[in-house]
């Protein structure tokens, strides 16, 4: 037992930090094509050459999914606290402050009401740039409130996770966000609200092991890492070469864990169709 295995809910082994060939955020890590900002914006940040899906910030995602001008953010002022007074090489409080400044977000999830293809829904969108999209108490609470609001309005919840897992700086309380968000999904189910999940790169560990896997319908963007344990930790454990598509969307589809692989330009119409189908079932 020299090396204990950590099966952690964590944010590492999740690519995108210093991706190969990626000096510029606008260089495609897959085919090395380079684009101007306006070009990528036009293509929803999908590489027109090879189809690579660049990571999206939460607000960009909302801009792409919600009908123009319909999104009303909720609980923007809710923030993480520091219940453990966690200190590694730096205090957690400093990391939080820095993340807030660099992302202009209160925490790693943005929630609010919106219309998608003219249908009312509640939106919960995560942002990987805020501490690896990790889920601490603030993320858990905001997700739970999004479920409550959807249930109150009898509206569907559309959720777009992007997360490395639970936020270890909140220790055991971050682990408790798993059952907390599972309970929140149960509120949605009691109220017969459809719950649509669009898994994006990466949806891993604690978020995959809680609300993200409980969607009535689970869609995923191509090429995203969707695994409970990241490839690096699995590699260390099994000490053999992993399959090329280990943990990726395509592999998850093959093994029956997601309903459909949806590229970004199809996402809004596909969600519109699903929202309509669920609405007509009532």
């Amino acid at each position: 037992m020299s090396s204990r295995i950590d099966v952690s809910v964590e944010h590492r082994g999740t690519p995108d930090e210093g991706a190969p060939g990626g000096d510029s955020p606008n260089t495609c890590p897959s085919c090395s094509s380079h684009y101007r900002d306006d070009e990528l914006e036009r293509t929803l940040r999908v590489c027109p050459h090879c189809g690579y899906h660049f990571p999206l910030r939460a607000r960009e995602r909302i801009g792409q999914l919600a009908d123009a001008g319909t999104f009303v953010e909720e609980d923007a002022d809710l923030r993480s606290a520091d219940p453990l007074e966690f200190f590694d090489l730096r205090p957690y409080r400093d990391r939080l402050a820095e993340a807030e400044v660099s992302t202009q977000l209160g925490d790693a999830i943005v929630i609010g009401q919106a219309k998608i293809e003219r249908r009312d829904c509640e939106l919960a969108v995560m942002d990987f740039k805020f501490m690896g999209g990790s889920m601490g108490s603030a993320v858990g609470e905001k997700f739970a409130r999004a479920c409550d609001r959807a249930a109150e309005k009898s509206a569907p919840l559309v959720c777009v996770p992007a997360s490395g897992g639970a936020r270890m700086q909140e220790g055991i309380l971050s682990l408790m966000q798993l059952p907390k968000t599972v309970c929140a999904v149960e509120v949605l189910r009691d109220a017969y609200c459809p719950f649509l999940v669009v898994m994006t790169h990466p949806t891993t560990a604690g978020v995959l092991a809680s609300f993200a896997s409980l969607g009535d319908v689970i869609l995923a963007e191509p090429g995203a890492l969707l695994s409970f344990t990241g490839p690096r930790v699995v590699q260390q454990t099994v000490r053999e070469k992993l399959p090329d598509d280990f943990g990726l969307t395509e592999s998850n589809y093959r093994f029956g864990h997601i309903d459909r692989i949806v590229s970004r330009n199809e996402l809004r119409p596909v969600l519109g169709r699903l929202l309509a189908l669920f609405a007509d079932g009532v």
């Binding site: 295995i5 099966v7 952690s8 809710l78 923030r79 606290a81 590694d88």
Partner: protein
């Protein structure tokens, strides 16, 4: 909704007061009726109050990590044989496998049939391999869900014993849907109408642990740990050096006392001096006492109310900052 901080120092104090009151009442009873069987309960309460009042240092936290992983520490089946009568193990997920890292079955506890689920590490190298060091595959969590269904159909209370380094991080485990089954296992526990009690008896490692930890009452043995990530894993990421595991453990605060203060566990189960491995029989007796008490706490609720309270309990977990509404 609960925007205030959960289990504030005030609440911990309330808990202490509640225990003190019970202690005083029991003391009184014992004076009046000499020889009536309350001395075990007295002992348990005294110990529990002691636990609440001392905060462990960084070194003590590391000692607890080592005790929680002690290779002589009693495992689920060691407790089962001591506190259950006629335990009947149930095997298999009714799909494709029997995951021996997680045992399920039914047996009599205090004369009543209870459904049990628990992680099981192995004692020697052969058993460890067979039981995968207590690290379950999705098949294990599916077997647990099968047990919860059975318990619900037959109104058996559920006892869950948590002792795992974590869910198994392997290729097949991922291909079989590790994350999804951990999520569904929690959901199955959230939905139970029958009483449920969970106790962390060793390592409460991350998602693989909480998968069977969504109970009406969550207990934790004095020298158990409950954490979002192993100290080694945390050190490797945040300190970029797994050797800093002691610092990571001190920062993660995975010990029972801190978990209690943070409102994650409802009570701490005392262990014999030096740890449960020194006296498994006494450890089992004290565990049974605490489990009995925890079941009694939720026995009188109807199943709807029990579900409601369980959901409210987990819905309230976490500490965050929100501005006071204008």
């Amino acid at each position: 909704m609960a925007s205030d901080e959960q289990r504030s120092p005030r609440q911990v104090l309330t808990e202490q007061l509640r225990l003190r009151e019970r202690l005083a009442r029991l003391n009184e009873l014992q004076r009046q009726f000499r020889g009536v069987g309350v001395s075990g309960e007295l002992e348990r309460l005294r110990r529990q109050i002691d636990r609440i009042e001392v905060a462990p240092t960084a070194d003590e936290i590391w000692d607890v990590v080592e005790l929680a992983r002690h290779d002589k520490r009693p495992y689920t089946l060691d407790y089962v044989e001591r506190i259950f009568d006629d335990f009947f193990e149930l095997h298999g997920d009714r799909s494709n496998a029997d995951d021996e890292a997680l045992v399920t079955g039914i047996g009599r506890f205090d004369g009543r049939t209870v459904a049990l689920v628990g992680h099981q590490k192995g004692r020697d190298i052969h058993e460890r391999t067979r039981r995968n060091f207590g690290m379950a595959y999705p098949e294990g969590y599916r077997k647990a869900i099968r047990l919860f269904d059975l318990a619900e159909r037959h109104r058996f209370p559920v006892l869950s014993l948590i002792d795992t380094p974590g869910a198994y991080p392997g290729v097949l485990a991922e291909q079989h849907g590790q994350g999804g089954w951990i999520a569904r296992c929690q959901l199955a526990m959230v939905r139970l109408g029958t009483p449920s009690v969970a106790c962390v008896i060793g390592e409460g490692g991350s998602g693989g642990a909480v998968a069977i930890g969504v109970a009406d009452r969550v207990l934790m043995q004095e020298n158990a740990i409950y954490s979002v990530i192993s100290p080694e894993g945390c050190a490797a990421i945040l300190w970029r050096d797994a050797g800093e595991k002691r610092k990571a453990a001190a920062a993660l605060k995975p010990d029972a006392r801190h978990c209690f203060e943070l409102g994650v566990v409802d009570a701490i189960v005392p262990e014999p001096p030096g740890g449960a491995q020194n006296d498994p029989d006494t450890a089992a007796t004290w565990l049974a006492d605490s489990v009995r008490q925890a079941f009694a706490d939720v026995a009188d609720l109807d199943s709807e109310e029990r579900r409601r309270q369980r959901r409210a309990k987990f819905r309230a977990m976490g500490v965050f900052a929100a501005p006071i509404p204008a």
